[in-house]
């Protein structure tokens, strides 16, 4: 089912928790809703689910305006951050609960519950209580409960935030697999950019209630719409550098980063990702102040003028603190922003 959000706004007092949001989601897509804490992700999700009434704007599921339809009639499945399983009921009773409330016969409900439990691989725990399951298993029960009524839309509010790092990765792949298997339009809220990029078809990045960019992960990573998105995506974080442009030459302090750039003279903010540097005999000299081994990569802390710059190199490179390395920036990897923080171009 397609989802269309038009001018969606939610105001609490004089705070716009969500501010005139416009979004189209294609049938069967998984969209990651990404942003820092308090940016309005949950509010958006709750409006989609019908638990929160929008102050303004409309929501369409397919061609149908669902803005004033109550949650139970919206054909949505919702998974909460804390799973919200009913602790006194068995896994089976939890999963059949939405069906029984809709008047499905007990035997039929159990059959359907078992079917969906097999999809999420919890069918062997049907008689346990939620407290007797691990976090990842509870999470899958919550997904099963959301999916059992065959909703048109699946909404997940930070479903992985209670899991440990390893389980998070495993479970997010699991969510992706289930989503592909059931082919359900899914919105997945997270504040973890890596999580969002790894499983989403598209990512919507929000800041203070305003949608910043809505794109395919790779495109967004390489072409962030503005400085906020550039800063939000990627680990280690992007380097924010002040640059000057004169006659097409981009300089940071004394260092020349690029020549022949088609850019008006002036002072700009620029962003360069740590992995955008490559070792180059003719490059800029960087004194290594500090270094950190991360496994595959070696993260060097250096300085460009007064600003600290993080440079990522292969871990087999021989460097030590105090060494000087020479490096350049890959073509097209200097992101230049204007005074309103919008991306002007990549050089």
């Amino acid at each position: 089912m397609d989802i269309r959000i038009e001018n969606l706004t939610k105001t609490y007092g004089n705070l716009n928790a969500v501010d005139h949001m416009n979004l189209r989601i294609n049938d069967g897509e998984l969209v990651g809703l990404l942003g820092p804490s308090g940016c309005g992700k949950s509010t958006t999700l709750f409006m989609l689910s019908g638990l929160t009434t929008p102050t303004e704007g409309k929501i369409f599921f397919g061609d149908k305006d669902v803005t004033s339809i109550p949650p139970e009639d919206r054909e949505i499945g919702l998974v909460f951050q804390n799973y919200a399983l009913y602790p006194h009921m068995t896994v089976e009773d939890n999963i059949t609960f939405p069906l029984i409330n809709r008047g499905v016969k007990k035997a039929q409900a159990r059959e359907e519950a078992l079917e969906i439990a097999k999809v999420v691989k919890i069918d062997q725990y049907m008689n346990r209580k939620p407290s007797e399951l691990s976090g990842g298993q509870q999470q899958r029960v919550a997904i099963a409960r959301a999916l059992v009524k065959k909703p048109q839309v699946l909404l997940l509010d930070e479903p992985l935030s209670n899991l440990d790092a390893k389980l998070r990765v495993a479970t997010r792949e699991e969510i992706r697999r289930i989503q592909q298997e059931v082919k359900i339009t899914t919105i997945f809220v997270t504040h973890d950019q890596e999580e969002a990029m790894s499983i989403s078809d598209r990512i919507a990045v929000m800041k203070e209630g305003v949608l910043q960019q809505y794109e395919v992960p790779q495109t967004m990573y390489l072409n962030p719409a503005n400085e906020f998105v550039a800063n939000f995506l990627g680990t280690p974080e992007i380097n924010n550098i002040e640059v000057d442009v004169k006659d097409g030459v981009i300089t940071a302090g004394d260092a020349v980063l690029r020549t022949g750039a088609k850019l008006a003279d002036g002072h700009y903010h620029a962003g360069i990702r740590p992995e955008s540097f490559y070792v180059d005999e003719n490059g800029i000299s960087f004194a290594v102040d500090n270094l950190r081994m991360t496994g595959r990569d070696l993260l060097l802390f250096t300085k460009l003028g007064q600003t600290v710059v993080r440079v990522l190199v292969h871990s087999y490179m021989h460097v030590a603190e105090g060494d000087v390395i020479k490096a350049s920036v890959r073509e097209g990897h200097i992101l230049v922003f204007d005074s309103s923080e919008k991306l002007i171009g990549r050089f």
Partner: protein, 279 residues
Amino acid sequence: MSQNRKVGNIIATILKYAVLIFGAVFTILPFVWMISSSLKTPTELVQIPPSLFPETPQWSNYQEAWKAAPFARYFVNTLIVTFCTTCGVLVTTVLSAFAFSRLNFPGKKTVFSLFLATLMIPGEMLIITNYETIINLKWIDSYKAMIIPWISSAFYIYLLTRFFMQVPESLYLAAKVDKCSDFKYMIKIMVPMNKQAIFSIAILNIISSWNAFLWPLLVTNSQEMRVLSNGLVRFQTEAGSSTELIMAASCMLVMPIIIIYLFLRKYIIEGVTRSGLKG
């Protein structure tokens, strides 16, 4: 060193049990004394030194006591009053606690504060005003008079509201999405999740209702309406010196409470509510 610790642990355990046994003996002794006295002959009862256990248990004391006064009637009356007040209390408590903890209505905070404020009114004052009301309603000497004033308790409502408030809102929202009405949510989710608290309230109410003395004494005057506690005192003045019969009657009075307590105890002690929630 570990040897020392072991010895220390053992001593601590012994001390702990010694204190517990001491406490237990002190609580249980009068009780044992009551039971044993109820099974003695009148001569055994006054014998010096007193014996802890009767030579041959005089079970006939119970029969005699049961017949000496209309205890069956008292018993039924007490049962009716206890049952009705407890059901009433549970219904009003669950409904109000749910309203205070989950529903939004204008003046909720004010009403809740008023409920709390009534907790500060001394019981004796309530008895006087309630008594006047009962007189005006001409309810004297009826079950209504014994039951109606006790079918709701601000304290229990406060207690249960606290428990209900600890249930995360997300469960409510999840239930909403699952097409569960407010009432159904209360019955199917809130009540079973808080069953320990509700059982505790039931037991506390059963005990206080079973043992209630002053109020039933005030509002009843005929023998048919008398409850056990009043009946027992009456019997005490009538039976006078037959201590063994009084003891037998006392045993009959407390036995149901003890049985109920033993029966429901596991629900109270079952432990902190299990949670299906993380974080």
